[in-house]
Symmetry: C2
Subunit: 270 residues, 2 copies
């Protein structure tokens, strides 16, 4: 193999870090890949960090010491959050999206990988400094967005089922009351899915009164685990008081009017 | 802004391409980002292509002309597929995974973003040259893997439901018979989800007799659309003849023995 140039090392490092968000790579790993000294790599990593900073591409963090290494945190700047939230609101705000019952059809947005990844980056922002063991969601519509949050944080996802399936073994079932329609629903999760004492981030696409989020908090207690954060893509403005105390949302749904076909939705930050 | 160095341009280009698989970026886009001439960019892109090639990081393709641009295809080399398939088999081959009924618990693998992305890259391999409009899957377990295939191919995902939900509007329902257990099941999909004449890639985590894959083929006909490819993570060796003619699988499940706790699974390529 001919000599590897600085350009090439920097390019390969950036590709590998970007494709594995929040995964730590040791200097040894890159040293062996390139056959170069640690001092050379240190200079390369300085250059890498500067590139991410200069173009607002996220953060590259280096941990010193024997257990150390380097990893990429897919952060987004405030302006990008505002701009993209605005674009999302415009996409959602189309009267054809209104479904009988006052629901809004958003599958085409949530199931688009580019959009979902961007949403995942934005929804993960408040939680980068938290200790999280699992990203938990409930089937079905919120799974892609939750999975992108999980990818950005590099944590395993857990999907709570609305009915128990044979293929997941022994499960804990729990009945709960939806916050807005006061219906009894069931959620269930395989016993082996979550270890005791886990820290949980709950992610969903939508929150009205917060009955589901409250249900997840209760279910996690059955696993002797704790919800330490809740994030949704959109939350309704009413009821203002939700059944959970703390949650983050990107968008606020003020109103859906089935008769006039009007959707009133806005970024939370504006 | 001080002058942008070649290192910096190459690094930023690699980050942006890597974070947006199969999304085309025009030379103008990068020209404006860096404030540099197209001739300079052409040299940068040559360097970028060489870096991907030298370290087996995937393919960077350039389309010439006014409608042209550059994009990243997350391909994997044959050796990587074999090695990772082998690792997957070893992870799956643990008797604790066997669930009463002869099922295998794999959620911890399928729901791990790093593993799922790697599986997505491998499962997408046969389909990079195909014209695909949607990646279709059926809820729930296969969604993360299907979504990673969708991300690698940069196509929207569609999730067929096992029961119709109010929140997706008018839907087409279809009963079908599972291939192995001969039970009647329902699948349903919102009418607006898929346009006429669409080309479909069906992705699932598991195939036994192929009843679900056959059901999806039939359902897609109701949408005047066509399944042009089917990929699963693992398929059982028996029955050898499936209800669909062509499918790709990464792993072959030879046998699950509940009594002895033995799982016999192997990469298809070996």
């Amino acid at each position: 193999m001919s000599r590897i140039h600085k350009n090439e090392r920097i390019g390969a490092i950036i590709h590998i870090l970007t494709e594995h968000p929040k995964k730590m790579f040791t200097l040894n790993y890159f040293g062996e890949l390139f056959g170069c000294a640690k001092s050379t790599l240190s200079e390369d990593l300085d250059a890498v960090r500067n590139i991410f900073q200069r173009f607002d591409l996220g953060v590259v963090e280096t941990i010193a010491g024997a257990a150390g290494g380097v990893f990429y945190i897919p952060t987004v700047i405030q302006k990008e959050i505002q701009d993209f939230s605005q674009v999302l609101c415009e996409k959602i705000n189309q009267k054809e999206r209104i479904i009988p019952g006052g629901y809004i059809y958003t599958n085409d947005l949530l199931y688009d990988p580019e959009i979902a990844y961007q949403i995942g980056k934005m929804m993960a922002m408040p939680f980068h400094e938290e200790t999280i063991d699992y990203v938990v969601t409930i089937e079905t519509k919120g799974i892609p967005v939750a999975f992108m949050v999980a990818r950005v944080l590099n944590k395993p996802m857990i999907v709570v089922r609305k009915s128990s399936r044979l293929t997941e073994g022994t499960a804990i079932h729990m009945n709960y009351i939806t916050g807005s329609t006061k219906r009894i629903q069931t959620m269930s999760l395989a016993k082996r899915a979550i270890g005791k004492g886990s820290k949980i981030l709950f992610i969903d696409d939508f929150m009205k009164a917060g009955g589901t989020a409250k249900g997840i908090e209760d279910l996690m207690k059955e696993f002797e685990s704790e919800v330490i954060g809740t994030g949704v893509l959109m939350a309704t403005a009413e009821p203002q008081k939700k059944l959970v105390n703390n949650y983050h949302t990107l968008l606020v749904l003020e109103k859906v009017d089935e008769e006039t076909g009007q959707i009133d939705i806005r970024p939370v930050s504006l």
